[in-house]
């Protein structure tokens, strides 16, 4: 720059700096306010109730809590809840993957209808879902009567509870995978085909690894929802203590009647399990993805 074109070197920058500085500060405050609001909201909704539960569970120290958890009844209800979750999650993972593949990849009559109806179990109240099963499989219904005559009891027994839990958790894997599959497109699979891989091989070595984190999140949500399921299971199980009582039903019973310590302890375990599940999944993913970035 020629020297005669630089008059008053200090005046110009100052004129620029002042309004900029003011704006920056305002936006900084706005940002802090937003963060504070989010944190407060998070605390009010999640942190404080969580802390209250923990405090209540430990109100009388370790011993009552430990005693409540050792109680064979508590262990039995958790075993039942975990078993239900395992079966429902396994079924919904396999069918969820298949359903997502079909909904995204195939064009057929009624596809849009099914696409919409997949969300129904999520939208419908679980109690209504349970009622549907009772109407369908109850002892008075034709199907229920037919099964009953052959010694298979669905309602007020394990099969009904598996059905109810499975029904309520249908959408999670499908909804998690559909957008991922859509975004992924078919080129990867076609590339595998041109390299000689058949459909099954392509699914295992290309499709599934590409969507594995979607599957993992879908499974996490499904497991969480299964463990927490209350309404539908309440309706179909009949809540027979010592037989068809799950962890959530046990907690409800405990709060209403005779052993609140057990209810607090069970609640704490359920909440902790969900927390560990979600955070653990996230941590695992970060670790694996991070490891891949480092490999070079």
């Amino acid at each position: 720059m020629p020297p005669d074109l630089e008059p008053e070197p200090t005046a110009a920058p100052l004129a620029f700096e002042l309004p900029l500085k003011g704006r920056e500060e305002a936006s900084g405050w706005g940002r802090r306010l937003l963060i504070a609001a989010v944190l407060a909201w998070f605390a009010i909704l999640i942190l404080v109730p969580g802390a209250a539960l923990v405090r209540q569970a430990f109100a009388k120290g370790w011993q009552p809590l430990a005693a409540a958890l050792i109680d064979p009844e508590v262990r039995r209800v958790f075993a039942l809840s975990l078993g239900l979750a395992a079966v429902a999650t396994a079924v919904n993972t396999v069918f969820g993957i298949a359903m997502a593949l079909v909904l995204v990849r195939q064009r057929f009559f009624g596809r849009t209808l099914i696409d919409g109806v997949v969300d129904l179990p999520f939208a419908v109240s679980p109690i209504v879902a349970g009622l549907m099963l009772i109407v369908l499989y109850g002892p008075e219904s034709p199907i229920g009567g037919w099964l009953d005559a052959r010694g298979i009891q669905v309602i007020y027994a394990l099969p009904g509870m598996v059905l109810a839990t499975t029904f309520v958790t249908v959408p999670f894997v499908v909804r998690e995978l559909a957008p991922i599959l859509r975004e992924l497109g078919e080129e990867y699979e076609q590339a595998a085909h041109t390299l000689g891989a058949g459909r099954w091989r392509t699914f295992w070595s290309v499709t599934l690894p590409s969507i594995r984190w979607g599957v993992a999140y879908g499974v996490t949500l499904t497991v969480g929802r299964c463990l927490g399921e209350f309404g539908a299971v309440l309706v179909v199980s009949g809540n027979v203590i010592g037989q068809t009582q799950t962890a959530t039903l046990y907690i409800a019973d405990g709060v209403e009647s005779f052993h609140p310590e057990g209810a607090y302890a069970a609640s704490l375990v359920l909440a902790a399990a969900s927390f560990v599940l979600l955070v653990g999944m996230d941590a695992l993913r970060h670790r694996l993805e991070g490891a891949r970035e480092v490999t070079s």
Partner: protein, 419 residues
């Protein structure tokens, strides 16, 4: 009127043949590739002179009511690099995907190295396919990506490893074996995709707009690189492009497509010099479309009605390449269009002149800088534009005939036409 971007085909063969320096890297690995098919130079009984690797016969495909491919037939000679060139919607990708078996045609047949592949599933066709967006498996390392086809075919581990190393060297990414696709640039990814397709030694290599997703500079480099690679590897390759410059630079043969039909097949230079119809003329390189009737008779040779077999009809148009036009400040006896200079644009080595011969007839030509310096045109000048070579398109008859103007004038003078 100019159609399409200008291509400087006259500036010497732009085809990149392996230069002494950069191609050295390929020579190390030459022995690793299958030798060119023996039959190619030893025809069994003289009947089959050339070896056809891909043969497409009467291919048609409809999407709903849209005729994507309409009775397309062509063949690709073994070891050649051929371009399927056409604007979007011309059906070129559909044809390529049908050859690969990724799509099925409504009718027609596909032969691959002499075998009918029409009903074969993709997996058994033995084709290598390169996608526009690479389609590398994101969860696999570069090594695993390239080795995927070998693993599927059950190639022993040690042999597969050797083959992958060979290909990594070929694509000059030797140190990248354990990286993931996300850690590579677009150009590198496309090279990996190419290596992955080549690894199982396919009968033919099919490339769907292979450079379409890359930026201009990388595209140019990769184009040259692909041509050099092909000169080394000799695998029969068919690639789809909408970029006529790409087709010119890379291919031995071009199949020009429009609206699902083959318009012309031939070597790039032939298509440029002898286009079969106005579409090919306009699509391959720039061309001016000018009214033949307004071509004024010069003192030598008279007007076109004197040196054409058939006098030009009202609906006849002259298609002239920008470099087939001379521009003069004064008449020199040849037939000419009077024009006015509208704009002069220096473009480095050449100068582009935008002219107008009538309100609805703009044209442009490019003249070497040194020549335009001598003439010294200015905007608004009246000039005379003389064609050397034109194609005459008769809308009614549908004919498209080339005319060498100088030769035609000479012949008509010899046969006693008046001056």
């Amino acid at each position: 009127m100019s159609v399409g971007p200008f291509v400087d085909v006259d500036a010497g063969p732009s085809r990149a043949r392996p230069a002494a320096g950069p191609s050295v890297a390929f020579h190390h690995h030459r022995g690793a590739w299958p030798p060119p098919r023996v039959e190619a130079w030893r025809p069994e009984d003289g009947r089959e002179e050339k070896n056809v690797a891909i043969e497409v016969r009467g291919l048609s495909k409809k999407y709903g009511s849209f005729q994507a491919v309409n009775d397309v037939s062509f063949e690709v000679e073994s070891g050649k690099l051929v371009a399927l060139l056409g604007p979007s919607g011309s059906g070129k990708s559909t044809i390529l995907r049908t050859i690969a078996g990724l799509e099925s045609a409504d009718s027609g047949s596909v032969m691959l190295t002499g075998e009918d592949a029409t009903d074969l599933p993709v997996q058994q066709r033995g084709v290598g396919f390169v996608f526009q967006h690479y389609a590398l498996f994101r969860h696999m390392t570069i090594r695993d990506n390239i080795g995927f086809g070998l693993k599927i075919r059950g190639v022993p581990r040690a042999e597969a490893r050797r083959r992958v190393d060979e290909l990594l060297d070929l694509i000059q990414l030797g140190g990248y074996a354990n990286r993931y696709p996300s850690q590579l640039s677009g150009g590198q990814r496309q090279r990996v995709a190419l290596a992955r397709a080549l690894a199982p030694r396919p009968k033919v290599l099919l490339l769907d707009e292979p450079f379409g997703a890359l930026d201009a500079k990388v595209r140019d480099e990769l184009r040259t690189w692909l041509r050099r690679l092909h000169d080394e590897v000799h695998v029969t390759s068919l690639f789809v492009t909408h970029d006529q410059r790409e087709a010119f630079e890379v291919s031995d043969q071009i199949v020009v497509l429009a609206e699902g039909r083959v318009r012309q097949i031939g070597p790039p230079q032939t298509l440029y010099e002898q286009p079969a119809d106005p579409f090919v003329a306009g699509f391959l390189g720039a061309i001016n479309v000018l009214p033949l009737r307004s071509l004024k008779a010069g003192s030598v040779g008279g007007g076109p009605e004197e040196w054409l077999d058939m006098p030009p009809a009202e609906h006849a148009e002259a298609y002239v390449r920008p470099h087939d036009l001379d521009v003069f400040a004064a008449r020199d006896g040849k037939p000419y269009w009077p024009a006015r200079v509208e704009r002069i644009t220096p473009l480095g080595g050449v100068v582009r002149l935008d002219l107008r011969i009538a309100p609805e007839h703009p044209l442009y030509i490019e003249v070497p800088r040194d020549r335009s310096n001598g003439v010294g045109f200015a905007t608004g000048d009246e000039v005379y534009v003389c064609p050397r070579h034109i194609n005459i398109y008769d809308r009614v008859r549908g004919s498209f005939d080339p005319v060498d103007v100088h030769r035609a004038i000479g012949l008509s003078l010899e046969s006693g036409a008046g001056i």
